[in-house]
Amino acid sequence: MQFYRAHVLICGGTGCTSSKSVEIKAEMEKELKALGIDNEVQVVMTGCFGLCEAGPIMIVYPEGTFYSHIKISDVKRIASEHLLKGRVVKDLLYYEAIQQDKIKSVNDVDFYAKQKRIALANCGLIDPENIDEYIALDGYQALVKVLTQMKPEDVIEEVKISGLRGRGGAGFPTGLKWQFAANYEDDMKYVCCNADEGDPGAFMDRSILEGTPHSLLEAMTIAGYATNAKKGYIYVRAEYPIAVKRLEIAIKQAKEYGLLGESIFDTNFSFDIEIRLGAGAFVCGEETALIESIEGKRGMPRTKPPFPAEKGIWGKPTLINNVETFANIPAIILKGGEWFSKIGTEDSKGTKVFALGGKITNTGLVEIPMGTTLREVIYDIGGGCPNGKKFKAVQTGGPSGGCLTSEHLDTPIGYDNLVKLGSMMGSGGMIVMDEDNCMVDIARYFLDFTCDESCGKCTPCREGTKRLKELLDKICTGKGSLEDLDRLEALAYYIQDNSLCNLGQSAPNPVISTLVHFRDEYLAHVIDKKCPTGVCKDLLHYTITDKCIGCGSCSKVCPQGCIEPVGKVINEKTNRRAYVIDSSKCIKCGACMDACPPKVSAIIRQ
């Protein structure tokens, strides 16, 4: 095996790939060859590092030098300065990795120093397409332990002790779920991985699949052993091409090594895994709809009970867990459930991965111990709202969750704590909003999403979400009344109580939580017909005041041509007149306001 003195790790997650990390890797290999040091320096494409905002990311070991926002044109300098001559290229470092000339390693940067990584442990550290690197970091050792030293019931007991709860949304205790699946006897049983990640802004499952696909295969095989299942399905959406490709490679490698297939390690346990591609319907993240989809039917939820543990895929007992849940399993088996249960809070054990998005400086993935407060996540790790804007709210749990305000910032994160506040953990999306966001518009955005994604099987969800959205449209366009607010609220609770599956039951959450925490904004929309943040365009009015000097700058940029010099006469001699906006034609683009000379500032927005 070739020995290298330095390793260059380049992020190959979806985010960095879209900003040319594949080309950067090729360029780096080319440069190293040209310098004649390609046999000393290894270039590795890894999974997501988490700090997507700084992408494309490159880390150089052994120093752990953290380069961010790398362009193809920067590669030459890194190769010839750093890798050939050992001089760190300071201006390409991540801004926080250099302080008063002292260069910090990647692990000491605030964003990473405050995290604790279990599910994401290997992401950004190993080459996901190389099974040996996974094995180097204790990969498949948990499987060895399970098959040689543990009985199936011991495995389930260990997971129960760990206190692990489902990371996909509802937070059902994982050990109990495994127990139920193990209890039902049948000639065929299945293990299924729910990789149909649908929350807008959540991408932790994708990153695990892309960064450490073998963790998932190992965990599913362990689950197969524990529940006496012979076959596993991974249901992943086709919109994740990199994840699918890496999964396929991982399955092929695991089969070659005999870690999947007939009599693993010469025991009498056999297990096989197959990938099923989903077409990207949000509802297929609901476990029974997912099962329908795997069977080749239209993805619509079934009534529960019977639960999948009793009648799942092809009517056989099936264990379904989410990607992140599975990703915790190898560590739990190796280090013990006891170890895992010491991390986190009373009701929520271990760590959770959150996808930070929206108005936040460090957009990306963070894994933190449960019990960390929202404030620590948003400010200490996330870096707060950019451009000095004021924090307004954070939406947790995606379209099924709710908005929390600044008064909730010191809440320790946990399943029950978030539910108490009217939101939920969900799959871990965290969308931050600042003072420029209109909360009514946010509720409308999420409703727009759930309305589109409703499968249409049950009426409360199919019709209800549509009516909710119409009411919100009405409010946002200034046609709403106080009665509409009452109607909105009543309908929201009705949908929550009467929908078949979780999609419908949770769809009104964004409406309810914004109604509770931001009622004043709703009132401003319906009573004053004003949007306090200026997001709802229909409620805006642009007018030209007396300050107008008649220069015509606004008229020149107006795409509608609706600003004419028809106001009062400014200059008697030249008969120059002030300009006036024809509100009936105005599309409220704001171009005129930007064009008005700053000294004049004659245009106001109300």
Binding site: F3, Y61, K85, G86, R87, Q141, E256
Partner: protein
Amino acid sequence: MKKSIADLARIRQEALKNIQLRDQNEASCRIVVGMGTCGISAGARPCLTAIVDEVHKRGLTNVQIVQTGCVGMCRLEPMFDVYLGNEKVTYVDMTPEKSRQVVVEHVVNKRVIHEYTIGAVENK
């Protein structure tokens, strides 16, 4: 090829040697080679290559080899520092052959080769 549990352990050992470089806490010895313009022109690169090769040949997993710029004593290049425990030893006027000796004697056997150190050369 189907792997047994023993095979898996072997693969783990092998792959770990390579990947350990990315572990920030593992290294107990650091070799810092001067790679300024002066160092490179005096022949630091063959020395570096020799060190890398020797470290690998002996399967030393806890050694970190990094480069640095000019430290100001260009006339003594090629030079490198060995950090072992709390001690720092500077070797100067090196050749690939001497570099290999340092890896064996100093890093493996923990015996400083005094005649190659900066103190010895300066006092000549």
